[in-house]
Structure formats: structure tokens, C-alpha cells
């Protein structure tokens, strides 16, 4: 907002070079944008960053010099910026509203209380209950008549095995935690396939628990869903 000089004709003549240089700058920047897309040297996120930066530079160049904001009173800049700021906020608001909300289709926690049985095929990692204790198979085998005969194939575990299972639509972060301090549990992971997150996990808990003892929180971009 430097205002006009005393010789307006000379001032206008000087602007010719400003306009010409700016025009060359705009053409060069646009050329760089196109070359970056053609050579495909950078990752997608870098390309978006570069395009954003070059667009902002060109935008500022045009409004500041071509549209005379540099020489005009500041009210014009304020008027335009008001609209621009509202537009930017509108842009992010609409983008935010358009994000996909995560949906928890299924979440269950069940205790594994299968009693050991004779003459049964067990896979490595299977859990069984004998009395008040829990054991885990260290290798695949078929059980004998008595547990004592296969004792070397089983490892006693501390805690009660529970199976957590979930099915979620659209998630980039999943958190599961226990609501009972005496039965601590926390699991957080970031699924690679964000569209459909489906899985199970067996964990050892200090006490027997049900689904209601846990909370699952799922995030997709800006949105959190929990139950």
C-alpha cells in the first residue's frame, strides 16, 4: 500500500517490467509443476506439498501485483482476505464432513475355557484348562489318555487366556483397553488395510472378563468411534 508516486505515468511505465517479470515467473512455476508430474521422481505426498507451495506463490503473485493490491489501500486486501479466509474454512469444513466415519461391526472378548480332552488333535499355541490352571501347547500333537503323559508338550501360563475379535469398517487406528484397573489391558495398532479391519488376538488377563469390561476406540482420520 505504498500509494502512487508523484509521476503516475512513470509509475505505470515501471509496472510494465513488473508485470512482464511476474508473467515469466508464473509461466516458469507452472512449467515446474508439469515437469514434476512428468518425471514422477517424488512421492505423492511430496508432489502435493510442492503443488500446494507453487500454487500459493502464483496466487500471491497475481493478487499482489496484477490485481494491484501492492499499490492499493489495505481495505481491498481485507475485503478479499475475508472472503478467502471464509472460503478456506469452508473448504476444510466440507472436507472434514466428507471424511468417512469408522464403524465397529463386531467386538467380542471371550474367555478360552476349553478343558483338556484325551485323543484330540491340538495345534501349537492352543490353550486348555486343567483345574484352575491354563496350559499352552508348545507343538502340534494328538493328546494321549492322560494329561500327565503329554505334560512336556504343554507350558503352564500365568493368567487366563481370552480371545479378542473385531471387525471394523474404515479405521487407521484401533485402541482396546480394559475398564477395570485390577485387570489391566491395553492394545493399540494401526491397520495397513484401512477399509476392512478384521482380526483376533489371544491375550492373557489377570482375571476372567467379558466384552463389557472393555472399550474399543477406532479412529479414521478426524473421527473417533467407540463402544
Amino acid at each position: 500500500m505504498s500509494g502512487h508516486s508523484e509521476d503516475p505515468i512513470a509509475e505505470e511505465s515501471k509496472r510494465f517490467f513488473t508485470f512482464f517479470n511476474l508473467s515469466m515467473f508464473l509461466v516458469a512455476i507452472t512449467g515446474i509443476e508439469i515437469v514434476i508430474i512428468y518425471v514422477q521422481t517424488f512421492d505423492g505426498s511430496y508432489i502435493i506439498g510442492i503443488l500446494f507451495t507453487t500454487s500459493v506463490l502464483k496466487f500471491i503473485g497475481v493478487i499482489w501485483w496484477f490485481m494491484h493490491l501492492k499499490w492499493d489501500k489495505i481495505l481491498n486486501t481485507i475485503l478479499f482476505l475475508m472472503g478467502l479466509v471464509i472460503a478456506v474454512f469452508t473448504f476444510f469444513a466440507v472436507i472434514y464432513m466428507g471424511d468417512t466415519h469408522p464403524v465397529i461391526d463386531q467386538f467380542e472378548v471371550t474367555a478360552l475355557t476349553d478343558e483338556w480332552k484325551s485323543d484330540k488333535q491340538y495345534a501349537k499355541g492352543d490353550f486348555v484348562k486343567i483345574g484352575d490352571s491354563y496350559f499352552q501347547a508348545s507343538q502340534e500333537h494328538t493328546s494321549s489318555e492322560k494329561f500327565g503323559q503329554n505334560k512336556k508338550l504343554w507350558t503352564k501360563v500365568k493368567g487366563i487366556p481370552h480371545q479378542f475379535s473385531w471387525k471394523i469398517t474404515q479405521a487407521d487406528t484401533v485402541e482396546i483397553h480394559s475398564e477395570k484397573p485390577e485387570n489391566p489391558f491395553f492394545l493399540q495398532f494401526f491397520p495397513e488395510d484401512e477399509e476392512l479391519v478384521e482380526g483376533t488376538q489371544i491375550s492373557l488377563l489377570a482375571q476372567s472378563a467379558t466384552t463389557d469390561d472393555f472399550r474399543i476406540k477406532v479412529r479414521s482420520e478426524a473421527f473417533w468411534t467407540e463402544n
Binding site: 509443476e33 508439469i34 508430474i37 473448504f91
Partner: protein, 215 residues
């Protein structure tokens, strides 16, 4: 540039409380509101591009449809037209009618070339064998991409067309013998509108076209 021109540069609009001619304030307020208009159109396009990224079970690869060389060319044309427009405003401020006419003509021609490229592009997209992109479908299957794309770029094209007719009006007026430096403010408002159309394209080109090639 004569004394007459220098004298005419001193021509003042009626004084206003803001110190800025009312027409200019009005134009800037309009451009601010138009920012919001294009802001919603661009964000709508981006959202639907994201949530409707597939056609059937296949990813919508719109690069099969776009002709980036042609769009790059029309982008350079529109940028060049902005230089002509800035020089036209500068010329009318100096009272140089001949130069104003040539610069207005340059802006009009370049604006018309941009429009011709867009008309060709739209026609080409709609009738591209095997990759037809219509307002409501892609390759014959219902899809929203065409709606947001044509509405956004078509609205911009309509703005360009309005600008071309406005400039054409000034060019014709310049031959009536009535045009003088007293019209500089009106030509400047027309120039503001034209540059705005340019900055909207500065956003649309990378966001709608180039980003398709980023991944």
C-alpha cells in the same frame, strides 16, 4: 504521453468515506464472495473424488481421460492473458488508447483460445471411445466424478466467457470515440475480475488435474 494523458490520470472519482472508489470496493467484495463459491465447488470435487474412488471394483484412473498436454497449454494461455490484461489497465491509466485496444484484443483472443480448449476437452471426454466421461457416468457406469468435474470447470469456464464478453464490450466501446482515461476505473474492475478467473484456475489446475498424476 502527453499532458492530456497526464492530466487525465489525475481524474478523480467522487470522494468516498473509504478513500477507494465504490465500484472498486464492490468488485473486491464480489471477488471475496466468489472465493467462497469456488471454495465449496473445489472441496466438493475433492471429497467425491476420495469417497467414490472406484468404478465397480476398479480404481477410477481418470488419467485415461485427461489430456494433460492440452490442459497445460490452456493454462499457459490463461496466464499469458493475465499479462495482457494488466498491460491494458496500465495503458488506459496512461491514456494510451491504441495500446489499450491491442492489449484488450490480446486478452480476448487468449481467453477465447482457453474457452475453445475447454469446449474441445469436454467434447473429447464425453465421446472418448471406451472412456466416456459424462455428467453422470464413466464408461457407462453411474459415477459422480463427471458431475463434480464438469460443474467445477464449467463454472470456471462460464466465468471466463463472461470476462471475454465484458472485454469485448470494452473493445467495441474503444472504437466509438467515447473511451478515455475517465474509464480507467471501469477497465480496472474488469481487469480484477479477469485476474480472479486466472487465480481460480491456478488452484483448479493442480488440484483437479495434476494431483491425478501424483500417485
Amino acid at each position: 504521453m502527453s499532458e492530456a494523458a497526464a492530466h487525465s490520470l489525475e481524474h478523480h472519482e467522487p470522494e468516498t468515506s473509504t478513500g477507494i472508489p465504490n465500484k472498486k470496493v464492490l468488485m473486491w467484495a464480489f471477488l471475496g464472495s466468489d472465493c467462497m463459491f469456488f471454495g465449496t465447488l473445489i472441496s466438493t470435487h475433492l471429497i467425491y473424488r476420495k469417497i467414490s474412488a472406484t468404478v465397480g471394483s476398479n480404481y477410477l484412473d481418470i488419467r485415461n481421460v485427461f489430456d494433460i498436454e492440452l490442459t497445460s497449454f490452456s493454462t499457459f494461455i490463461l496466464l499469458a492473458s493475465s499479462l495482457f490484461m494488466a498491460l491494458a489497465v496500465s495503458a488506459i491509466h496512461k491514456g494510451n488508447l491504441t495500446s489499450t485496444r491491442w492489449m484488450l484484443l490480446g486478452t480476448i483472443v487468449f481467453g477465447a483460445i482457453f474457452l475453445a480448449c475447454q469446449v474441445y476437452e469436454f467434447t473429447h471426454f464425453v465421446h472418448m471411445p471406451g472412456n466416456e466421461l459424462t455428467l453422470s457416468s464413466y464408461r457407462g457406469e453411474p459415477h459422480v466424478f463427471g458431475s463434480t468435474f464438469y460443474v467445477l470447470t464449467g463454472t470456471h469456464g462460464t466465468h471466463v466467457a463472461i470476462g471475454v464478453f465484458w472485454l469485448l464490450g470494452w473493445l467495441v466501446y474503444s472504437f466509438t470515440g467515447k473511451m478515455s482515461v475517465a474509464d480507467a476505473l471501469d477497465v480496472e474492475c474488469c481487469g480484477l475480475y479477469w485476474h480472479f478467473v486466472d487465480i481460480v484456475w491456478i488452484i483448479i489446475f493442480p488440484v483437479v488435474y495434476l494431483m491425478e498424476y501424483a500417485f
